[in-house]
């Protein structure tokens, strides 16, 4: 059996004196999809930044624990070494290089690839996955729509030929139809053997895509299990899927109508 795509043990991280991750343990099986759910400030983005080595850019640091990907220890490595180890992070908010063309953005994505000679091959795959990127290849990325920018951000990450893709809120700010499109490509990418660690506020979407899921609360894993288990658990249904459950939990939800599922979560 091949080693898991990602194994995190007791990971702690902090922004200065403020702890942000308090002992996270999780695993993404080789070729699997895992999701991390949680509200704002639960530490989801911090977790991905810690994994990809860019926490120092945001004023934070990993303070303890272990991170291994496919048998290689990632903790303390520079971001370029982590990319070279096959772990690539698509940041929240897309962050395409707005002043560069779509083609140049993809080229930037291949800068850290283990084997740059395969860049053309990777680009063909990305174009097949997102034909719009081939059509818009010479346009500045800043002129793409939000959904197209998200496709570009994912495509750019794929240029490095990752074994594990870290996706931070790919559905953020996108229309339901576009979100469905992105969800479809995540499944497609995974089918070609790339493992995915997905962070989502859209819990319904995340639980549909993932095999395993972890619920983060104030920097620690509060719940974990298979996606089906979590989707069926009362607590996840109540807090993240917006489904009302009977019983004692109802009083802290406020007046009745507030618990109706939001349209976005049905996406």
């Amino acid at each position: 059996m091949s080693p898991p795509a990602l194994r995190v043990r007791d990971l702690t991280a902090a922004y200065g004196p403020v702890p942000a991750l308090r002992g996270i343990t999780l695993e993404v099986p080789a070729g699997g999809v895992a999701a991390v759910l949680g509200g704002n400030g639960a530490g989801k983005s911090t977790l991905l930044r810690a994994l990809s080595g860019v926490l120092p850019f945001h004023g934070g640091a990993v303070t303890g624990g272990e991170i291994t990907a496919g048998g290689t220890s990632l903790r303390g490595l520079r971001p370029d070494r982590i990319v070279a180890a096959g772990v690539v992070h698509v940041p929240e908010g897309r962050h395409v290089f707005a002043r560069m063309t779509v083609a140049e953005n993809l080229r930037a994505g291949s800068l850290g690839a283990r084997d740059r000679r395969r860049a053309a091959e990777a680009r063909d795959r990305v174009h097949a996955l997102f034909p719009i990127l081939a059509e818009r290849s010479r346009q500045p990325a800043g002129l793409l729509s939000g959904g197209e920018q998200q496709m570009l951000a994912i495509g750019r990450a794929l240029m490095a030929g990752p074994d594990l893709l870290l996706l931070d809120e790919p559905s953020l700010g996108l229309a339901p139809l576009v979100t469905a499109r992105i969800a479809g490509t995540i499944t497609e990418i995974n089918r070609y053997g790339t493992a995915v660690l997905l962070i989502e506020q859209n819990a319904a979407l995340a639980l549909r895509l993932a095999d395993h899921a972890y619920v983060l609360e104030t920097g620690a894993v509060a719940l974990h299990g298979t996606a089906d288990e979590l989707a069926a658990s009362d607590e996840v249904r109540r807090r993240y899927l917006g489904v009302a459950t009977s019983g004692e939990d109802e009083e802290d939800l406020g007046p009745g109508p507030a618990v109706r599922p939001l349209a976005r979560w049905a996406g």
């Binding site: 990319v83 290089f97 002043r99 930037a108 800068l111 990450a157």
Partner: protein
């Protein structure tokens, strides 16, 4: 009319040299957001290497050594000084470069002493006549070499992996790091290229009609700072436009100083700075600058 044509050609030639220096300011600023006040000292170092080496190893090898030496010195400054201070603000780092400039300039000026060192260039004071217009060969060489160097630089910036990495890092450092771009390498590379361009510029600041390299040569380099600012410090196109504007303005101010009382008494020396102030009053981001608009 021929006088004007001569002035324009000479102005463009020195403008192209200023553009070389201004490009150095721009690429360091783009990759590290630091205004590199140590740039004149890199220029002086490159020129000094050419001056001391050309007698022994010949002019062209000496020029190569000067370019390589200034590039190495630039990368060294980045590695030894700036990288250790990464946590400092861009303002602090810019001020640190003033310190670096003073240290390097004082040391090189001490070595130069009161002398004026010739650079041993092959052009000397020979001139060519084109349709009644007299132009020094050295000026033509300056224009040709500067245009060639700038073209190579811009093509590299646009098409090579190095250029893509530079532009990605300039636009969004954290995201560039996520792509596996090595930011330290990118900024050391920017300093090295800036140093190399400065050394080339040093050569043409010291050839005819200038007698040679002296301790004041670095002041000439400072004129390229307004050139970079006029163009907008984050724009390579701006550096070229700014350099040419400064060169032509200066040549015209010198050329017509006998006709207009205003231009007398060293007006040419302050013209670049006046031009900078006027441009900034009209366009606070410079002619081609975008940063402020993008961040708004």
């Amino acid at each position: 009319m021929t006088a004007l044509a001569e002035l324009l050609v000479n102005g463009l030639a020195s403008g192209a040299v200023y553009a070389l220096v201004a490009l150095g300011f721009v690429i360091v600023h783009r990759s590290t957001e630091v205004i590199n006040f140590a740039h004149p000292s890199l220029l002086l170092a490159g020129g000094y290497l050419v001056a001391v080496l050309h007698d022994d190893i010949g002019f062209w090898p000496a020029l190569g050594a000067g370019v390589a030496g200034a590039a190495a010195l630039g990368a060294l400054v980045e590695f030894v000084v700036l990288r250790r201070l990464r946590s400092g603000s861009h303002g602090t780092l810019s001020i640190v470069t003033i310190g670096v400039d003073i240290v390097l300039t004082v040391e090189i000026a001490r070595r130069i002493g009161a002398e004026v060192l010739p650079l041993g260039d092959p052009w000397g004071d020979r001139v060519v006549q084109v349709g009644g217009v007299t132009i020094a060969q050295a000026r033509i060489a300056a224009l040709g070499v500067a245009v060639a160097a700038i073209t190579v630089f811009l093509l590299a910036f646009k098409y090579t992996s190095w250029g893509v990495a530079m532009r990605a890092a300039a636009e969004d450092r954290a995201t560039a790091a996520l792509m596996g771009v090595r930011l330290g390498r990118v900024s050391a590379g920017a300093w090295a290229v800036a140093g190399a361009l400065a050394a080339l510029a040093a050569l043409f600041l010291c050839v005819f009609p200038t007698p040679g390299l002296d301790r004041a040569t670095s002041f000439a380099a400072l004129k390229a700072l307004p050139a970079a600012v006029i163009g907008g410090v984050d724009s390579t196109t701006g550096a070229l436009a700014g350099g040419l504007l400064i060169g032509v303005t200066e040549a015209l101010a010198v050329g017509y100083q006998d006709e207009a009382a205003l231009l007398r008494g060293g007006f040419a020396d302050i013209a670049p700075y006046l031009l900078m102030i006027v441009v900034l009053l009209i366009r606070p981001t410079g002619l081609f600058g975008t940063r402020e608009l993008a961040r708004a």
